[in-house]
């Protein structure tokens, strides 16, 4: 026993919350698991790359939920392994080295891993080492759909036999759910898993926590930030000032045993009423040239906006945690294209209109709005100090449903990019003008650095 008098660790002081707050402390503890998920929910399917970003034989390194992941495509099939060498933690993807089609070799001391299961299959300069065949790195199941590569980001000891199908982490589908969730104002939304589905979009890094980003996606109170967006005026949409819940069940949970887990909002039904006027501010909206849409969200944070930005198209978004203060923002539009012609037409309209005006213009607003919230939440106190209001029922419902159905809370990244915010490498890269991001920093020229 230590004889000197003991010293207290630095602890955080808990703030008290007032009773009037929508998120009072009983509610707060209902979603404690969500508050703990700064690094994301692990053991879920996440988008990793667009298929075209990983052509045959290419190697890429990314990071999701604080887990570095290396992907390689061989004979059309994508493999994913932990991008952290068993030997001394080097990222395999920083200088891709592959001597055959079934393995990837660490460029430093030559530890070589089987692509299929991550087992150490040999060591370049020590083929007889007793470690060979007995140790390895974690492998991650991979699926490709509609032009996107999905990876099941698992903890090292999450059993492979427990990996659910990708469909359990993607939004509910139509028309199979049309009766349960009617949508008289628009045709059944396509799904990424539909035959002929084409996904077009982009992904980029946002500087905020993934939860801040995700909650923005289905926040009904933030129409205000989009009022001046070009697409709104170009297409003569008239948006209400806001929409308020006006029913005992404005949101329904989707909790089917083998289905995705999340919520769907009854937008543009009598369960939500549009706010057309704020007399005090002299604001009034006359005719509603409505852009009817509906938002839903499922674990691990996949948003679906039906009937957006036009009929037969659905917008998906993901807010993939990279670290606790970075996320990869995926904005994807999906349309079923039966012929090459249709595909071409979709791509044409996407490139000319949707990419610049929706995924950039309109959604750029969301990107900066999330970053504007980040500092309030970054040290953890924002979750206790926020003062939510009636429309925030959406966020609270999501926090509760996510607390209940997530398959695991990611542990804070250890020994990975972004775990130490002030590492000298990170600072040097910043000085070189490179912001922390999603992709590994590759060694481009082997002879000069």
């Amino acid at each position: 026993m230590n004889e000197a008098s003991p010293i207290r660790r630095r602890t955080t002081v808990r703030m008290s919350t007032s009773d009037k707050r929508l998120n009072d402390s009983a509610l707060q503890s209902q979603y404690q698991p969500y508050k703990d998920a700064a690094w994301g929910f692990v053991n879920h399917w996440y988008p990793a790359l667009f298929s075209e970003e990983l052509p045959e034989d290419k190697v890429e390194g990314i990071q999701i939920c604080g887990i570095p992941i290396v992907l390689r495509r061989v004979d059309g099939k994508v493999f994913a392994l932990k991008d952290q060498c068993l030997h001394r933690g080097v990222r395999l993807s920083a200088k891709p080295t592959c001597f055959n089609k079934s393995s990837i070799t660490c460029w430093y001391h030559g530890f070589t891993f089987d692509l299929a299961d991550g087992l150490l299959s040999t060591i370049v300069a020590n083929p007889d080492d007793p470690l060979v065949g007995t140790a390895g790195i974690t492998s991650y199941p991979v699926e490709e759909a509609g032009g996107m590569i999905f990876v099941f980001v698992r903890e090292d000891d999450y059993p492979l036999e427990d990996v659910p199908p990708l469909s359990q982490d993607l939004p509910i589908r139509f028309p199979e759910n049309s009766e349960r969730f009617p949508h008289p104002l628009w045709p059944a939304a396509p799904s990424l898993l539909d035959e002929g589905a084409v996904a077009l979009g982009l992904h980029r890094t946002g500087q905020s926590n993934w939860r801040i980003a995700c909650e923005n996606g289905f926040d009904n109170a933030h129409i205000l930030v989009h009022m001046e967006n070009t697409i709104v005026h170009a297409l003569n949409w008239v948006l209400p000032l806001g929409i308020l819940p006006d029913h005992e069940e404005p949101i329904t949970l989707t909790e089917d045993e083998d289905g995705p887990k999340g919520l769907i909002q009854w937008l543009f039904t009598d369960r939500w009423k549009p706010v057309m006027e704020n007399p005090q501010l002299g604001l009034k909206i006359d005719a509603l040239n409505g852009r009817f849409y509906r938002t839903s969200v499922v674990l691990p944070g996949c948003l679906m906006v039906e009937n957006w930005p036009e009929e037969h198209i659905v917008q998906y978004e993901w807010y993939v945690p990279i670290t606790d203060d970075l996320y990869e923002y995926w904005e994807v539009m999906v349309r079923v294209c039966k012929t090459d012609e249709e595909k071409k037409a979709f791509k044409h309209r996407f490139d000319r209109v949707f990419m610049p005006l929706c995924l950039r213009g309109f959604n750029d607003c969301d990107l900066y709005a999330r970053e504007a919230m980040e500092e309030f939440y970054a040290d953890g106190t924002g979750w206790d100090n926020e003062q939510l209001a009636a429309t925030d029922v959406s966020a609270i419902t999501w926090r509760k449903v996510a607390s209940r159905w997530n398959r695991g809370i990611a542990k804070p990244g250890k020994g990975v990019t972004g775990a130490t915010k002030t590492s000298s490498i990170r600072l040097r890269r910043l000085a070189e003008g490179k912001a922390p991001g999603y992709f590994v920093e590759k060694i481009e020229d082997v002879n000069s650095y």
């Binding site: 026993m1 230590n2 008098s5 003991p6 010293i7 207290r8 660790r9 602890t11 009983a26 503890s29 209902q30 404690q32 698991p33 692990v42 053991n43 080492d129 007793p130 470690l131 007995t134 140790a135 698992r154 903890e155 000891d157 999450y158 059993p159 427990d162 509760k400 607390s403 209940r404 159905w405 398959r407 695991g408 809370i409």
Partner: protein
Amino acid sequence: MLTATESDQTAVDLGASHVTFTFSDGAEHTLSIPTGSSILAAGLEAGLPLLHQCRSGTCSSCLATLVEGEAGTLPGSNSSLFASEMAAGKRLLCVTQARGDCRFTLGYDSTGGQQVSAAQTFVNAVERVAADVIRLELELAEGSWIDFRPGQFIQIKVPGTDQTRSYSIASTPAQLPKIELLVRLLPGGVMSEWLLNRAAPDAVVEIAGPHGAFFLREGEKVPHIMIAGGTGLAPMMAMIDQIRARPGRKPPILLSFGCTSEEGLFHRDALELRQHWLPGLSVQLSVDRGPASDPVRVGNPVEAVGQGGAIDPASVAYLCGPPGMVEAARSHLEALGLAPDNIHSERFVAS
């Protein structure tokens, strides 16, 4: 005299040797290990909790001390030990083979390579959760640490006395440095007296642990039955929270929790939250004495198990409470078809 004989193998080349492992808590295991095999590999195969990591003679996690007999490095392997360490009897078990019967001592105990250590803590909170139950939250001081498995207990030196008391930990290892305990108040008890009259935030408390072989068995996917009486709920809270946090599909859990009366039933909110977070958790509450309002039943928590439908005989069970309850629960579960080996229990005595 201990010697590492690298060359002369003639006498023991054939057959097997009896290798005895002595853990720091005195637990002993003897295995028959064929000459030429790694002692670590054989021990792990037999289920012994031997620490290890690289399995190639480098990292030194499998360090043990040879105290009787002879044992040397496996041909073709290397050990990172210095010659002087070898001469002092040190061996890396992963690359060591026995040369005849021998005995090793290990620097850790048999509950999975855990070291019992003493630690200083501060009181964070003292909260009355029922007329006779207090929730005590401690926090390990800077530089102090203990490890434990959910279900295990620690010993506390009651401040201002020379008495120690044992309490199961109600929180999980992931919550360290915070440690939560549920303490039953007993009239005249030294711990109760301290808790009621002197314990306050920032008080310093000495603890030691972990102790006990009652802990959550990892990797079990069969249904879990937990029966708890009174503060016997503490280790169950730790196990439930551990199951919630662990990767993979969660097993269904039935918790049957009993207290003497409905006013005395504590932690109902905490259990409700767990049910919200863990859809596979069902909770049955019982009280010995009525009245009780739905869904609390009058009766004991033991007989409540199996009433709502058949119990899977492959279930594992965890029991914690007074000796009488634990005995009754054990025979009840065996009668329902559970294997005795799958029933783990901890009984506590009032002190």
